[in-house]
């Protein structure tokens, strides 16, 4: 790199000679280490861990039953050294029976590695709060409650954190519209800000959010084989 390269016979660097794709090289060693570690944790906690997987980007994920949040998080904090809760979020997939997927991202400072723990719940089932394990979970859980409506049992102070004070609804749910239900404006007669139902002009009313292109062609569902039902027996033609 730079001007001192003499191999190319003085050709400037911006003349392309070969096009090589800049793709992150696969780190097999790290992948193997994460696989081994995932198997280790799954062997120790078989009561709660439903699945353990390593993504192609070398990210270890543990998929857990919701009863096992506090045991698994405490184990990862005390036994293996994942002392830092980097993130706590939720994912809304309305087509599933348990629509919300709660995701905990943990970081180990000593071993410089990350791990992801995922659980599931629906709108009404409460989940154990992780505040007793990681203090950082406090505001994250308030955010998940505010945005998705997931209730956390034993949370010290579960109230709204991002939405307005009288706001109704949980904005990050997939069935909550992008522009919301209310809009605010300043009303001169009453001399304060009022909230009124949202008014959209006709141009903004087209809610066609599906893309015309197929999203994951590699994961197409196999077409269901046609079932041939036994029909009525044919009468002998007389």
């Amino acid at each position: 790199m730079g001007r001192s390269g003499g191999r190319d016979g003085g050709c400037p660097w911006w003349v392309c000679r070969e096009l090589v794709a800049t793709v992150r090289p696969k780190n097999e060693v790290e992948q193997k280490q994460l696989c081994v570690f995932g198997e280790y944790v799954a062997e120790i906690l078989p009561k709660y861990i439903q699945q353990a997987q390593v993504t192609c980007f070398n990210e270890l994920e543990l998929l857990i039953h919701p009863d096992g949040i506090i045991p698994v998080l405490t184990f990862l904090r005390d036994h293996t050294n994942f002392k830092s809760l980097a993130d706590l979020t939720a994912v809304d997939v309305p087509s599933r029976q348990y629509r919300f997927e709660i995701v905990y991202n943990l970081l180990s400072l000593r071993f410089n590695s990350r791990i992801r723990v995922k659980t599931y719940t629906d709108e009404l089932t409460p989940i154990d709060s992780a505040v007793s394990v990681h203090k950082a979970a406090n505001w994250y859980e308030r955010e998940v409650w505010d945005m998705y409506g997931v209730f956390f049992a034993n949370h010290p102070d579960l109230r709204r954190i991002l939405t307005d004070y009288g706001f109704e609804g949980h904005p990050f749910r997939k069935d909550f519209p992008l522009s919301g239900y209310v809009e605010v404006r300043y009303d001169d007669e009453v001399k304060r800000v009022v909230a009124e139902p949202v008014e959209l002009s006709q141009e903004f009313r087209k809610f066609d959010l599906n893309s015309p292109w197929e999203a994951f062609p590699a994961y197409r569902a196999a077409p269901e084989p046609l079932k041939i039902e036994a029909g009525a027996k044919k009468e002998d033609a007389k």
């Binding site: 120790i44 009561k47 439903q50 039953h65 184990f75 005390d78 036994h79 997939v93 029976q97």
Partner: protein, 120 residues
């Protein structure tokens, strides 16, 4: 906690205590004995008990044989001696909780079949 400043004299880098006091090794010995005692309440075939006993026995043997704290830190390769003590305390509290949670039992409940499927 000053990890990167070197103090004159044989002081522990984190607390300023005299490093060769028998306090550290004594505390470690007590903690490891307690952990092994708590682990007896777990069934023998549980993976948690197997692996934790392995780790604790290994460290316990090192603590018994090595009296110099500096060399012990190097052999354990797990940070300063205070950090090793904190790790042992965490392991003890975890072991007590594990006895109640019993995580070696088989899976509580299978997820619904489409729960972990991605893409949807």
């Amino acid at each position: 906690m000053c990890f990167f400043v070197s103090f004159p004299g044989n002081f522990s880098e984190t607390d300023g205590l005299d490093m060769n006091s028998p306090h550290f090794l004594e505390r470690l010995r007590i903690l490891y004995t307690k952990i092994l005692g708590v682990l007896q309440n777990i069934p023998k075939d549980a993976a948690y008990r197997k692996y934790t006993e392995q780790i604790v026995n290994q460290r316990f043997n090192l603590v018994q044989t090595e009296t110099d704290v500096q060399k012990l830190q190097d052999k354990l390769n797990s940070g300063h001696i205070e950090e090793v003590i904190v790790q042992a305390e965490n392991e003890l509290s975890l072991a007590r909780k594990m006895v109640q949670w019993k995580p070696w039992e088989p899976l509580v409940e299978e997820p619904p079949s489409d729960q972990w499927r991605w893409p949807i």
